[in-house]
Structures are given as structure tokens and as C-alpha cells.
């Protein structure tokens, strides 16, 4: 089992989830995050002071998948979220031990 984590631009979320769903991914989890990267921050101006905001809002998408699906899912996320401009994001994968579906208590492959 793999956990595929993607940090993407907020506006790419719809395309990513649509394409994952089409592929047959049965679920995913989304978190609002903020990130640094090649992409810098931005400036806000308030009475008497200028603020540099270092981080940019991003979306983290986490998908549990069987090992066999890993590279296909990465490719789908890439295709759906890539604009070729800095700030597009990052994808990484980690190994997962046990997976459990809470509703039924099913484990691993059955649980995804």
C-alpha cells in the first residue's frame, strides 16, 4: 500500500479529483496548507506598514492506493495539475502498513 501525497495549486483541485475519480480512485483526503518553494510569497499593505507573506495557500491531497496504482496516480495528478509555472507543487509517496476501513473493520486492500 502507498500513500500518495500531492501539494497542488488550489485551482487545480477540481481537475485532479475529477481525473482521479475517473480512474477509479475510491477516496481521498484534502487539507488546506500553505507552502514555500521556488515560488515566493506576496506583499500586503496596511496602514503604515507593508507585510511580506512568505507562504502561498496550497492544497494537500492524500490518496491511499495499492502499489500497482502508484505511478498511474502520480501521472494523473501531474497531468491535471501541471501548468509549467512555478508553484505547481510537489508529489511524494510513502509506504503504508495497515489500512483499515472504520465502518466495516476491513483491512488493507479491501479497505481502500
Amino acid at each position: 500500500m502507498k500513500l500518495i501525497t500531492a501539494i497542488i495549486q488550489p485551482h487545480a483541485l477540481q481537475a485532479v479529483t475529477d481525473s482521479l475519480r475517473e480512474y477509479g480512485v475510491s477516496g481521498l483526503t484534502i487539507t488546506e496548507v500553505a507552502g514555500y518553494g521556488r515560488q515566493g510569497g506576496h506583499t500586503e499593505v496596511y496602514r503604515g506598514a507593508e507585510y511580506t507573506i512568505d507562504t502561498i495557500p496550497k492544497i494537500k491531497v492524500e490518496v491511499l492506493a495499492e502499489n500497482a496504482d502508484e505511478s498511474a496516480i502520480i501521472d494523473l495528478v501531474l497531468a491535471a495539475s501541471r501548468s509549467g509555472r512555478i508553484g505547481d507543487g510537489k508529489i511524494w509517496t510513502t509506504d503504508v502498513g495497515t489500512v483499515v476501513r472504520v465502518r466495516t473493520g476491513e483491512r488493507n486492500a479491501d479497505a481502500v
Partner: protein, 480 residues
């Protein structure tokens, strides 16, 4: 010109009414501001606030004269007659009720402000504030003031105008001058400016509905000045207008809710707030012409009509973002034409014949044509000079951040800004003054080794003014 006899009671009421109507525009800014997305709320509110600034001055300089100066051909008033709002109390448009010149002129100023601000809802989230401010100044002078003159100032569409031989047209507090006028202008702008990026496909749902409801409440409150204040004094007519305003609004809330219950299964708070405004709009021209009972009926009809109308923009693909057309044009027409049916004196359904109805329709059509044509000319002229739209990337990232360098909310607190420096002594590098930020190629990449400025200046309290020497590091992030 007879001698002026001041009346403190009437004057008190018009002073209050003027303050109430002025409050409507910030109320509108909340109503509109809550309806847009969180990343554009400030721009939306600024459109109302800037209209207050621009129109108040334009009105003082020339608008009032054009509206209420000595009639020139039935179209407008003598433009320089009251420059700087000069005039004697005998010249007060409310002299008859003992209200001094400046009190009446101030009261009228607030109508010009709110009428202009109303339009902004049609072009939310996507236009340059500068262009909007220029538009506001021109529109109030060229479109609003002459129409106010024609209807209220002794011009073509008023009591002594071209239709008066059929019947005396009725626009008590601004069904044509304010709502039909602003509604048509909104429609024209929505078409000429074009739709928001993502209109019809992306979510543009309201970000703060309690703000919308608060805005609707302040509009209702202020509208007592608008409608009951239009009686010109504190008397039984003002009382009738007050009551009709309230019960028509009640009726419209119920009408809108009925549509929602049947069509969508759910009554919504946005529907309640919208119903409030629809009812207020519809009763505006009719506030002194109906009884409380017929006002309930008019409100109910307005609620039904506007609730059905607001969805049409999706059919026609016109991004009248906050439904200026669906609420103000439709509501204004329901009220203006509804008078022809329901007026206690002259209404068709109350045995008054068709002449009033005909006149009401004619006046409405005339106002629509006048407003539509002139607004089109102004909007196109601005399109080809200053331009209306902000760059697409700015629009997608949110106009607040890209064009106002601000964010509406910082509720989390933890992920927000972390570095601060005084901007007063700082001078920006000339090349940086683009007026817009492309967030995708934004500030200070973290590995930019050439960054010349101190990133973490010492607390200013402790030292000299290091910021004065700090150039703003707006460099473009480059991939390695």
C-alpha cells in the same frame, strides 16, 4: 418665491432621513460584500465606498444643479446654478415644508450616491477601481442627474411633463430614477465588461451570509429615510410610506421564500435578504400611492418575480454578478408598473381605468431607453480608454490581494504575515509600479541569493530608519 418659514420638525425628519439614506450605501457594501467570495470582499466594498467619495463631490460641484436647477428644455437643470450647493432657503426643493436648502440638497445627494453604488453589483470582482470611479463620476452627472430632473425636477417625465395629459406619473421615491435606472446600467455594464473568469462553472457562492443579512437590515433601516423621507416632511404621508415600506418588504420576503420552498425545497437566508431588498425596491415608487393591504400584495409579487428572475442570467450567460437586474430592474418595474394596477387613486384594479397604467409603462420605458443608451456610451468609451478589466491572473488570484494588497480576513493568525516594515519612508523601485501583482511569479523567491534588502530588519523602535534604505524586493522567482 414666497418667504421661507422654517419647520424644525420637518427639518429634523429630513436631516435624519438624509443620514439614513447615506447609511444605505455602506449597508449595500455589506450586502454585496458578503455575497462575493472571500478574496474579493474588499474590492466589492470599496466600489460602494468610492462611489460615496466620488458622487458626493460630483453632486456638490454640478450634479445637484443639473437635477434641480432651473429647467432647461425639460431635460436638465441649469448646470452652474448651485455650484458648491449654493442657494437660499427659499430655493429649497422642500421650501414648502420648511426644510432649509442645504438639508434638502444633502438628502438628495444621498440618493445619487446609492443609485450609483447599486450598479457595482453587476460587475463584481473584475474591474479596475479607477475605471469604476471615473464611471461613477460621469454616470451620476450625465445619466442620474438629468433623469432625476426629468422625473422630479420639473422635466419631461414629471408631473408637468409630456405624459401629464394622460395621467400624472407617480414615482414617489425613485422607482425609475433610482432602481430602473441603476438596473439598466448594471445590465449594460455586465454585458460590456463581460463575465467573470469561471462564471457558470466555478463556485462563486457567498462567503459571509451573516454579513449579507446585516447589509439587508441596514438597507431596510435606511430605506425608511428613502421612502418616508420622500414625503418631505413628518406627516401622515410619511407614516403611510413608512408602513407600506415595512409591509411590502414583509410580503416580498414571503414571496421569495415561497418560490424557494416550491422550487428548491429549502428556504434560505440569502433568499430572505434578497426578498427584503426586492420588496423595498418595488414599494419605492409606490410608497404613498398604495394602502397597507395593496402594499402587501405588491411586495408579494415583487418577491415572486425577483426570485424567479435572478436565475435568468445563467440562461443568457450574462454575469450580472449580484443580480442588479434581477432585483433592481425587475423590482423597479414591478413597483412602477404595479402602481398602474394597484394605486388607491387611479389604479386599474381599483377602478381607476388604464390611463395611469399606460403612463407608468411609458415612463418606465423612457427611463430604460435613456439610461441604457447613455450608459452604453460611457461604458464603451471607458472600455476603449482606461479599460475595465484587470488581468485574468489577478482576477483568478483575487482582486483584493492583487489590486489592493490586502486580505479581507486573517482569522487563523498563525499562517499569516510575519514580517512588517514601515512603508512611509520607503521608496519603491520604479520598475515595480505595475499596479498589479502576478501571484504566480511573486515576491522574493526564498533561494534568491541576490536579494539585496534586509529581510528581518531590527525593530524600528530601537534603531534609525533602516527601512528607508530598503528597496522593495519584488523580483521574479526563477526556476533553478
Amino acid at each position: 418665491m414666497e418667504p421661507f418659514t422654517p419647520d424644525t420638525g420637518a427639518t429634523a425628519w429630513i436631516l435624519v432621513s438624509a443620514a439614513l439614506v447615506l447609511l444605505m450605501t455602506p449597508g449595500l457594501s455589506l450586502f454585496y460584500g458578503g455575497m462575493v467570495r472571500a478574496r474579493t470582499v474588499l474590492n466589492m466594498m470599496l466600489m460602494s465606498f468610492s462611489a460615496m467619495a466620488v458622487v458626493a463631490i460630483a453632486w456638490t460641484l454640478i450634479g445637484y444643479s443639473l437635477a434641480f436647477g432651473t429647467d432647461v428644455g425639460g431635460l436638465f437643470g441649469a448646470p452652474l446654478e448651485h455650484v458648491g450647493l449654493s442657494g437660499t432657503d427659499e430655493q429649497s426643493i422642500l421650501a414648502g415644508s420648511g426644510v432649509p436648502f442645504l438639508v434638502a440638497a444633502g438628502f438628495q445627494m444621498t440618493f445619487a450616491i446609492i443609485s450609483t453604488a447599486l450598479i457595482s453589483g453587476a460587475i463584481a470582482d473584475r474591474v479596475k477601481l479607477g475605471t469604476w470611479m471615473v464611471f461613477a463620476a460621469i454616470w451620476v452627472v450625465i445619466v442620474y442627474a438629468p433623469l432625476a430632473h426629468m422625473v422630479w425636477g420639473g422635466g419631461l417625465l414629471g408631473a408637468d411633463g409630456i405624459f401629464a395629459s394622460i395621467a400624472e406619473p407617480v414615482d414617489f421615491a425613485g422607482g425609475t430614477v433610482v432602481h430602473i435606472n441603476a438596473g439598466v446600467a448594471g445590465l449594460v455594464l455586465a454585458i460590456i465588461v463581460g463575465a467573470r473568469k469561471g462564471f457558470g462553472t466555478e463556485s462563486m457562492k457567498p462567503h459571509n451570509l451573516p454579513l449579507v443579512m446585516l447589509g439587508a437590515a441596514l438597507l431596510w433601516f435606511g430605506w425608511f429615510g428613502f421612502n418616508a423621507g420622500s414625503a418631505g416632511t413628518a406627516d401622515a404621508t410619511a407614516g403611510l410610506a413608512w408602513v407600506n415600506t415595512t409591509v411590502a418588504t414583509a410580503g416580498a420576503m414571503l414571496g421569495w421564500a415561497l418560490v424557494e420552498r416550491i422550487r428548491d425545497q429549502h428556504v434560505t437566508s440569502l433568499g430572505a435578504a434578497s426578498g427584503v431588498v426586492a420588496g423595498l425596491v418595488a414599494i419605492t415608487p409606490a410608497a404613498a400611492a398604495l394602502t397597507p393591504l395593496t402594499s402587501i400584495v405588491l411586495g408579494l409579487l415583487a418577491g415572486l418575480a425577483c426570485a424567479l428572475a435572478v436565475g435568468l442570467k445563467h440562461r443568457f450567460g450574462i454575469d450580472d454578478s449580484l443580480d442588479v437586474v434581477g432585483v433592481h430592474l425587475v423590482g423597479g418595474l414591478v413597483g412602477t408598473v404595479g402602481i398602474g394596477f394597484l394605486a388607491a387613486d387611479g389604479g386599474l384594479l381599483l377602478g381607476g381605468g388604464v390611463s395611469l397604467l399606460i403612463v407608468q409603462v411609458l415612463v418606465a420605458v423612457a427611463a430604460m431607453i435613456f439610461s441604457g443608451v447613455l450608459t452604453t456610451v460611457i461604458a464603451l468609451a471607458l472600455k476603449h480608454t482606461m479599460g475595465w478589466r484587470i488581468p485574468e491572473a489577478d482576477e483568478r488570484a483575487g482582486i483584493d490581494l492583487t489590486h489592493h494588497a490586502e486580505a479581507g480576513y486573517d482569522l487563523a493568525g498563525a499562517l499569516g504575515a510575519r514580517r512588517e516594515r514601515s512603508i512611509v519612508p520607503a521608496r519603491h523601485t520604479p520598475g515595480a509600479s505595475t499596479g498589479s501583482i502576478d501571484p504566480a511569479e511573486a515576491v522574493a523567491p526564498m533561494d534568491d541569493a541576490s536579494d539585496p534588502g534586509p529581510r528581518n530588519p531590527a525593530p524600528l523602535a530601537e534603531g534609525a530608519a533602516p527601512a528607508a534604505a530598503t528597496a522593495r524586493t519584488v523580483t521574479t522567482g526563477e526556476p533553478r
